[in-house]
């Protein structure tokens, strides 16, 4: 069975500092990483592959450097990596990203489960998963923590306000929650081989049969602003303390 994992490469937050006063982000080391939720989605795919025969194909859109994310995914155990790169893809929003991924999944054919992470560390939009399902006409399940296979379906333990078990017929899009699992470490030999003995495939707009019209963005960014600063919370050590505080604030 073929499983697709869509990953995004994001700036590693350990490499930049945020200056609230200046409303600026200073990049000290420009390092990139696989978006953590997407890495958890890859781990879900690898866990499926641990139990049934499966081919894991990882998709990553982005410029040249996206190949590093794909190499890391391959080192962790993916079978194929496809980099979606084209000048036309620059500035893609959630809608365009979903269309790209949908086109790649159709081109691949035979995909039964498409996995992706819930939310990207950088934009935090969380749109791509549901939009991808929409573009493919597949059902989707959000906030997945555990994913298993049943006869012609995916069985998922997802977290709404509590954990629920849900099922969807395959093919389906499963959107994995941030922190759903602890992704495995790549074996060092595969890390070395991911550069010395392997290369990702590269697909462009023409390979995907997409034109400029298909790639028109729906969301236009007009500006960036810092969210309001959150006040630090108070740590309470007992229920009595909490009751006292709520009474003082006239909540109860």
């Amino acid at each position: 069975m073929r499983i697709v994992v869509a990953i995004k490469q994001v700036l590693d937050p350990r490499g930049f500092t945020v200056n609230r006063k200046a409303e600026k982000i200073f990049v000290n080391h420009e390092e990139y990483m696989i978006n953590p939720a997407d890495k958890s989605a890859l781990e879900v795919a690898l866990q499926i592959k641990d139990t049934v025969e499966a081919e894991i194909v990882v998709l990553c859109g982005g410029p040249e450097r996206a190949n590093e994310a794909l190499r890391q995914a391959w080192a962790m155990g993916a079978d194929r990596g496809i980099q979606l790169t084209d000048k036309l893809f620059a500035g893609a929003d959630g809608l365009v990203a979903a269309r790209l991924l949908a086109a790649a999944i159709r081109k691949l054919g035979g995909v039964e489960v498409a996995l992706t992470g819930e939310r990207a560390l950088d934009t935090g939009a969380g749109e791509v998963g549901p939009r991808l399902a929409e573009a493919l006409g597949w059902p989707h399940i959000l906030a997945a923590h555990r994913v298993g296979l049943a006869d012609g379906a995916v069985k998922v333990i997802a977290k709404a306000d509590r954990f629920v078990e849900v099922e969807a017929p395959r093919p389906a899009v499963v959107i994995v929650a941030n922190g759903a699992n602890q992704p495995r470490y790549a074996n060092a030999a595969r890390v070395i081989n991911s550069y010395q003995k392997w290369n990702p495939e590269v697909w462009n707009a023409a390979d995907l049969g997409l034109t400029e019209t298909d790639l028109a963005v729906a969301v236009v960014k007009r500006g960036l602003a810092f969210p309001a600063e959150r006040q630090p919370g108070t740590v309470l050590s007992s229920a009595g303390e909490l009751v006292g505080m709520l009474k003082r604030q006239r909540v109860i």
Binding site: E31, E68, R71, Q72, A75, Y185, A186, N187, A188, A189, R190, V191, I192, N193, S194, Y195, Q196
Partner: protein
């Protein structure tokens, strides 16, 4: 000239750094307190490939070369000296002996399990009366049919109590002594007659098990001779040569964290109405630390490059170990001074770092021996032979 790491080495560095931060760092205090590195951690490190970094993939190694191995040791040295010592003694000298001079059959037999961490190796050279003077070892190997009977004792053997396979030097021809009469053997710890003594209680490296080993007529088949009969001393010296490069890398990692903690504390701590960073006396210490570290980094990676390119490296390897251990000790000592009394508390990393650092000037050839090695190489270049 290219001072950048290759992309595969950069990826390896990232991956190891992540492992050390996520898996090892949270356990560091516990390892020091309990004098034990959890088996579970070693298992995880094995799965990540950390037990076979420099060796060829043909034998189950990771194929990352000496540069890759120095990256591992540097990243490990930044986090935990005990785990570094276990993997370092295993890889850099234990397995290295087999890798350098073992027969194809021996390598096929032992290396895959050693590289995956399923088995752990140790290097057994030192004896009670043969420390720096390694040539005066007494352990005997007497020929008996197709085997050798090993009889004697080894001391201060890192990984001794946990090793499955040991590279052991013993005298096969007493009339020739160590040079010409010593042979290196691969010995399995479950063979009859082998026992490891109790773990030594040391000042530092609490999690790294060290013990005396007893060989009471251990039967070793002749196929387990590493290298040539009579030339075991050469094999072991060659192994130690390479081991010194990665030991230098481990000290580099240690020195780096000393500097980083000194910088952070100098930023945070205020005295006389300003932070310590503004005091010239501290700036001098910090500048000296950073300069020495930068010089060490260049030396270590250039020497690793010499190894990977098959160039002579004995002199440079000695320098890696000599300078590395002394720089690391100086850096942690300065960091302690900067931290003041806080640096002495058991809770902080400085006190542990200080205790862990000292051994680097002693094991794998004392720094006095390194100086002799370096001087011998220098004099040899102008035709003077120094008697060891």
């Amino acid at each position: 000239m290219d001072f950048d790491l290759k992309p595969e080495h950069r990826a390896l560095q990232k991956s190891i750094r992540e492992f050390m931060q996520e898996e090892v760092k949270p356990l560091v205090k516990q390892i020091d307190r309990d004098s034990r590195v959890p088996d579970e951690l070693l298992k995880k490190a094995g799965a990540a490939g950390l037990f076979g970094i420099p060796f060829s993939q043909k034998y189950g190694g990771m194929g990352a070369g000496e540069i890759g191995y120095c990256i591992l040791m540097e990243e490990m040295g930044r986090v935990d000296a005990s785990t570094t010592a276990i993997i370092g003694a295993h890889t850099g000298i234990g397995v290295m002996t087999l890798y350098l001079d073992g027969t194809e059959e021996l390598k096929q037999r032992y290396l895959p399990d050693l590289c995956s961490g399923k088995k752990i190796a140790a290097f057994a050279l030192t004896e009670a009366n043969a420390g720096s003077d390694a040539a005066s070892i007494r352990m005997k190997a007497t020929r008996e049919g197709d085997s050798y009977m090993l009889d004697g004792e080894k001391m201060w053997i890192t990984n001794g109590p946990i090793a499955d396979v040991l590279s052991v030097l013993a005298i096969t021809d007493a009339s020739l002594g160590a040079r010409g009469g010593a042979t290196c053997f691969a010995v399995e710890s479950n063979w009859e007659g082998f026992t490891a003594g109790k773990r030594e209680e040391k000042m530092g490296l609490h999690g790294s098990p060290t013990a005396a080993l007893k060989f009471d007529n251990v039967r070793v088949p002749q196929e387990n001779v590493i290298g040539k009969v009579g030339l075991g001393f050469v094999t072991m010296m060659k192994t130690l040569d390479i081991g010194r490069v990665s030991l230098g890398a481990a000290t580099l990692g240690g020195a780096e964290v000393s500097l980083e903690s000194a910088l952070q504390w100098a930023k945070a701590r205020h005295q006389f109405g300003r932070n310590l960073a503004n005091m010239q006396s501290l700036q001098f210490m910090i500048a000296d630390m950073a300069s020495e570290i930068e010089a060490l980094r260049s030396l270590v990676y250039r020497t690793a490059w010499l190894v990977d390119n098959g160039r002579p490296h004995t002199k440079e390897a000695g320098m890696c170990k000599l300078l590395g251990s002394e720089i690391a000790s100086r850096c942690i000592d300065r960091a302690l001074q900067i931290h003041g009394a806080l640096g002495l508390t058991r809770d902080g990393q400085i006190e542990r770092g200080w205790r862990d650092s000292r051994i680097n000037e002693i094991f794998e050839g004392t720094n006095e021996i390194q100086r002799i090695v370096i001087a011998s190489e220098l004099f040899q270049e102008i035709g003077v032979r120094i008697r060891p």
